[in-house]
Amino acid sequence: MTEMNFFGHRPPGIETDALPGRLIVIEATDAAGRSTHVGLLKEWLEDEGYAVMDTGLRRSDLAGPGIQQAKEGHILDPITLNLFYATDLWDRIERRILPGLRAGMVVIADRYMFSLLARAAVRGVSQRWLEDVYGFALIPDRVIYLDIDVEHLVPRVLATQGFDYWESGQDFLRGHDMFQNFVTYQRLLLAEFRRLADRYGFAVVDARGSAGDIFRALKEEVGQVVRGMPLDDPVTEVALEPDLAIGAFASDGLGVENGDAIAGVHGDAVDGQASERSALGGSSQRR
């Protein structure tokens, strides 16, 4: 059960009873292997028979497109950008995460409020203020932090997407030496992540090792959280309580395909915007 506890006040219109699903958050800086492991965990959990939904930053119907646009134009001050991200997170909590938990799913959040707190702290935004704002966030069942250092990060970044404007702190660091800025920025960011890990009691997984070792450690952590969840066919359960589960998705442009008991519950992209995917029995789709 996920207890309906919030970091601050319970937002209006949210129930008090615990929900049957689980909320697991994976936090890490970019290129630490976060999305890879979210993908692996999702597949593993589905193979084990769990219903899984994943969600990540900027994927809300409401605020996702706006943030993308604002980031491309580099036009927002840090306070506005943070409030935009807060809107995005709340929209996903209310319209994705909570319905998933109500339906008994394992919800994996590829980053939550903690990445946003770390980034904002590095940019000088008041932590106390932002933590108060994020008081609306549901307390996850577990936050797993993939711990890495800059030395291990640099080769991974170079092997994948290269140095990115935001991940190098180009928006607030001086000079055009992107490599130096990346190192400076990531050192500050990782220090913030470790501070948050202490403060919020993250489960820390060493992300410097091989993918296999990291995944084994992640399975161990996630296994503890999902242990005891009923492994009855969740679709049958969902179908029995349309108001609680399918209804919540259907009103949102999502629906059950085929009416088949083992059919995946697909998130249709509304308006060409990526929306969350949820799937059962390995019929997973990625954008």
Binding site: L62, A63, D77, W129
Partner: protein
């Protein structure tokens, strides 16, 4: 709210729909410009980048009390950092049609925690003067009926489920907001204006209250271009209308 020592002044108006606050602010704006002051006006829910998201949320009815509150705070933050603070630093008079009190009143009616709202908006700048235009509910509703075609979903407060009829819902919603304003007048010392008085009388009083705050505000030098034009016997055919008057 931050009480900053800035060279400019911030005057704001609040009140329920139909209280006449925008009309009064507009009259004040014209008077201040005619007196030679540099005036920057800003409206609730108008920041270009955030507005698209708000519009998207309203159109598709994606907004719930919390997302409604958060997206409006993003809009407000964008205007604080891009419009209001720079103008106040530059010594201008900033006129704001609605301020944080609108969020405090509306969002509280939607069930959002009052304390959380004050913390959320703690980056706001303390206004130099904050006017609350107090009008009886029935009077405001009559005024609105005359001027507006159709009430929109969130405007009528239909998301609160107070009533299914938009007009009935709107009246109840405004009534609840008015109750919140009553608390805010006390808490923040808003200047209560009797909005049942004549337009002229209200405006005269508003100017009297504003005047002492204008003492050390710089005026824009006017007429320089006009002078240059007339001394050279030119018409200024290629000048923007704005620069002909203000520069």
């Amino acid at each position: 709210m931050r009480d900053l020592e800035l060279p400019g002044k911030l005057f704001i108006v609040e009140g329920i729909d139909g209280s006449g606050k925008s009309t009064q602010l507009d009259l004040l704006h014209k008077w201040l410009v005619s007196q030679g002051y540099l005036v920057v006006a800003t409206e609730w829910n108008s920041a270009s980048i955030v507005k698209q998201t708000t519009r998207r949320g309203k159109k598709r009815r994606l907004l719930t009390p919390m997302s409604f509150s958060l997206i409006h705070s993003a809009d407000f933050a964008s205007r604080i950092y891009q419009q209001i603070l720079p103008a106040l630093r530059g010594g201008a008079i900033v006129l704001a049609d609605r301020y944080v009190y609108t969020a405090f009143a509306r969002d509280a009616v939607r069930g959002v925690d009052r304390e959380w709202l004050r913390e959320l908006y703690s980056f706001a700048v303390q206004p130099s003067l904050a006017f609350y235009f107090d009008v009886p509910l029935a009077e405001a509703i009559t005024r609105i009926r005359g001027g507006r075609s159709q009430l929109k979903y969130y405007e009528a407060g239909l998301d609160l489920g107070l009533a299914s009829d938009p007009e009935v819902s709107f009246a109840r919603f405004q009534g609840l907001i008015r109750q919140e304003y009553e608390q805010l007048v006390e808490e923040f010392g808003l200047i209560r204006m009797d909005a049942t008085q004549t337009l002229i009388r209200q405006q005269r009083l508003m100017r009297e209250i504003v005047r002492p705050h204008l003492n050390d505000i710089v005026k824009v030098s006017t007429g320089e271009v006009r002078e240059a034009l007339s001394s050279a016997d030119l018409l200024g055919r290629y000048l923007e209308p704005a620069s002909r008057v203000t520069l």
